[in-house]
């Protein structure tokens, strides 16, 4: 069995590693100090079980779990935390496994024995029920069997294209399956709806332009694409551009 410990605190990792070496001597234990590292390891190696600390810099445990679920064979996940009222409530409601620090051996053995794969709905619900959870800072997409992360700050726009959403970002283009409506709700602070099929990152809006037919288009910074603004959203977008 391949196990992965994800925690930003070295001592916390060392303790769990020691305990796992005792309880599962035949397993191989990997270590990651950030959610991103955890994802990289899971992309390359087939991991069966991931221990995820909830509070970590840059990407918290809940977000990391969401991205891990995009893998073809997602690992089972056990969350680890010292004390998180809200998150723990959300976990018990959604039947998500967790361990409390300092972890005790008995609970660890039980959790490993019953550890199950999560599905993205469980995680999404847990995030919704955790008032102090922050928004995802990355969008994940599966490309050639690997899960790739795109920082939300680097995304110019989301555009619905039949079944998929095309994500245009600094590093190119990526297709994802998340519904546009959900993205709009999740990133309402950062993105604005300009058309039935498109959300644009407010920080990249440069201005507006009109074509010969009188249709309104949005001009972006650092990106050559011009996106049509539908008549329904025109007034709101004009107001927004004035404020910028």
């Amino acid at each position: 069995m391949n196990l992965l410990i994800t925690d930003d605190e070295p001592l916390a990792r060392q303790r769990l590693e020691r305990m796992l070496a005792e309880s599962n001597p035949n397993s191989k234990v990997f270590e990651a100090s950030t959610g991103r590292e955890a994802l990289d390891i899971c992309n390359k190696t087939s991991i069966d079980l991931v221990f995820l600390d909830i509070r970590m810099p840059e990407m918290d445990g809940l977000e990391a779990a969401g991205h891990l679920m995009q893998l073809e064979n997602p690992p089972a996940v056990i969350f680890v935390t010292a004390y998180d009222d809200y998150a723990l409530d959300a976990f018990s409601v959604n039947a998500i496994d967790y361990l409390l620090k300092p972890i005790n051996r008995e609970n660890l053995a039980k959790a490993i024995a019953k550890a199950s794969r999560l599905n993205s709905i469980q995680i999404q619900k847990a995030v919704e029920q955790t008032p102090d959870a922050s928004n995802r800072k990355h969008i994940s997409a599966r490309i050639r069997g690997e899960v790739r992360l795109v920082p939300v700050n680097d995304i110019f726009y989301f555009q619905a294209d039949q079944k998929y959403i095309n994500v245009k970002h600094k590093g190119g283009e990526t297709l994802i399956e998340d519904p546009l409506k959900q993205l709009e709700k999740e990133f309402s602070d950062q993105f604005v709806r300009i058309h039935r099929n498109a959300l644009v990152n407010k920080q990249y809006i440069h201005g507006l332009t009109k074509n010969e037919k009188g249709h309104l288009f949005i001009v972006l910074k650092d990106c050559e694409d011009e996106l049509e603004v539908s008549r329904r959203h025109a007034a709101e977008i004009r107001k927004l551009v004035k404020q910028l």
């Binding site: 930003d8 605190e9 070295p10 001592l11 916390a12 060392q14 303790r15 020691r18 950030t34 509070r55 810099p57 840059e58 010292a82 004390y83 998180d84 409390l100 620090k101 300092p102 972890i103 102090d132 922050s134 800072k137 700050n153």
Partner: protein, 362 residues
């Protein structure tokens, strides 16, 4: 929180609530006592004592209940005013009611036509009543003022104690520390031991009775213990820089409420350093400042780097807790300023030196 405080302020104001039945009863009782006193003093042997008492009681009741009704209706508004305005307004309204009652008495009891101040006796009657009412009101206001001072003292004291209880060791910190110790036991027993020692210093001071002041040097010691623990947990991510410059102030004698500085440092760790992958530097500057003429104080500044995203909003709670505790104890002389510039965050707290003068002025 603000609305809660403002409700409390009006509940706690100087004018009591005359709309409550027990208060009305006391008002009637006191008026009767006054009427008896007045009748005793002015009683002439040829007249009927009881008839005179009856007239006097009726008159004092008019005045007291009439004034009570006005104060009951305007209490909320009055209690927002300054003490001088409240006194002036109360005196004016009691005098006004007394004048009205005197005129009514002249008209009803003595059946005298109301010709303004034609008879000297009439004007003397009105003048005498109003002046007496005014004097009684002034004495009563003095009583109310003293009563309010005492009540406020009790309330602030218990509020300060409650806030101090809230400011204590965070559960998240406690369990993280226990985890650190559990890990260190197998790796380095000596470091485990010293972490446990640091933790017991923190726990011990958090178990002290709330409301006791501690010296600045003790609070600094507390923070150093705290930071030692966090340094063990976060490793090289956490670096700190202490800068203490106190010229005339003896940090052994300068007292502050316990857990004034520590929660600020804890915020800097939890909301700053811990959330940055590369960590960062916490700077703690403690210096002497002049606050107002003659009052010196200590200024404590804690600054730390912040990640890009605003993140959780938990730090406001600890900060407003400190701010409230300081304002209860020191009034406007203590201040707290928060400054956020891009990725650098700092909190500056100024605490005056507690001497007899500043206590009396608060």
């Amino acid at each position: 929180m603000e609305s809660l405080n403002s409700i409390k302020a009006s509940e706690r104001g100087i004018i009591p609530d005359f709309c409550q039945l027990p208060r009305v009863f006391m008002l009637v009782l006191l008026s009767e006592l006054l009427a008896v006193l007045f009748t005793l003093l002015t009683h002439q042997i040829h007249h009927s004592f009881w008839l005179q008492l009856g007239e006097n009681s009726l008159f004092t009741l008019w005045v007291s209940l009439g004034s009570g009704a006005i104060l009951c209706l305007l209490r909320r508004w009055l209690n927002d005013l300054s003490i001088i305005s409240v006194t002036l307004f109360t005196c004016a309204s009691v005098s006004f009611v007394t004048m009205l009652a005197s005129l009514a008495a002249l008209f009803l009891f003595y059946n005298q036509p109301l010709v303004w101040f034609q008879h000297q006796e009439q004007s003397w009657f009105i003048f005498r009543n109003t002046l007496s009412a005014l004097l009684i009101t002034l004495v009563w206001m003095r009583y109310l003022y003293l009563r309010q001072q005492v009540l406020n003292g009790i309330v602030s004291e218990s509020e300060a104690q409650f806030k101090a209880l809230q400011a204590r060791i965070q559960p998240h910190f406690l369990f993280n520390t226990l985890n650190t110790i559990a890990s260190l036991i197998a790796i380095n027993a000596q470091r485990a031991e010293s972490t446990l020692e640091h933790l017991s210093v923190l726990l011990r001071s958090s178990l002290k009775p709330a409301g006791d002041l501690i010296s600045l040097s003790q609070e600094i010691e507390l923070c150093k213990n705290y930071l030692e623990i966090e340094k063990e947990r976060l490793g090289p991510k956490l670096t700190m820089n202490w800068n203490v410059a106190l010229q005339d102030i003896d940090s052994e004698k300068f007292t502050i409420p316990p857990f004034t500085l520590q929660p600020l440092v804890e915020n800097a760790v939890y909301h700053g350093i811990q959330r940055l992958a590369e960590g960062g530097l916490i700077e703690i500057n403690i210096e002497q400042v002049a606050i107002k003429n003659k009052t010196t104080g200590v200024q404590i500044k804690v600054s730390n780097p912040l990640p890009d995203d605003p993140g959780l909003s938990g730090n406001q709670m600890a900060q407003s807790n400190i701010e409230q505790r300081l304002s209860i104890r020191y009034g406007p002389l203590a201040t707290m300023k928060v400054n956020r510039e891009q990725n650098q965050y700092s909190v500056t707290v100024t605490i005056p030196e507690l001497n007899d003068e500043s206590i009396n002025n608060r």
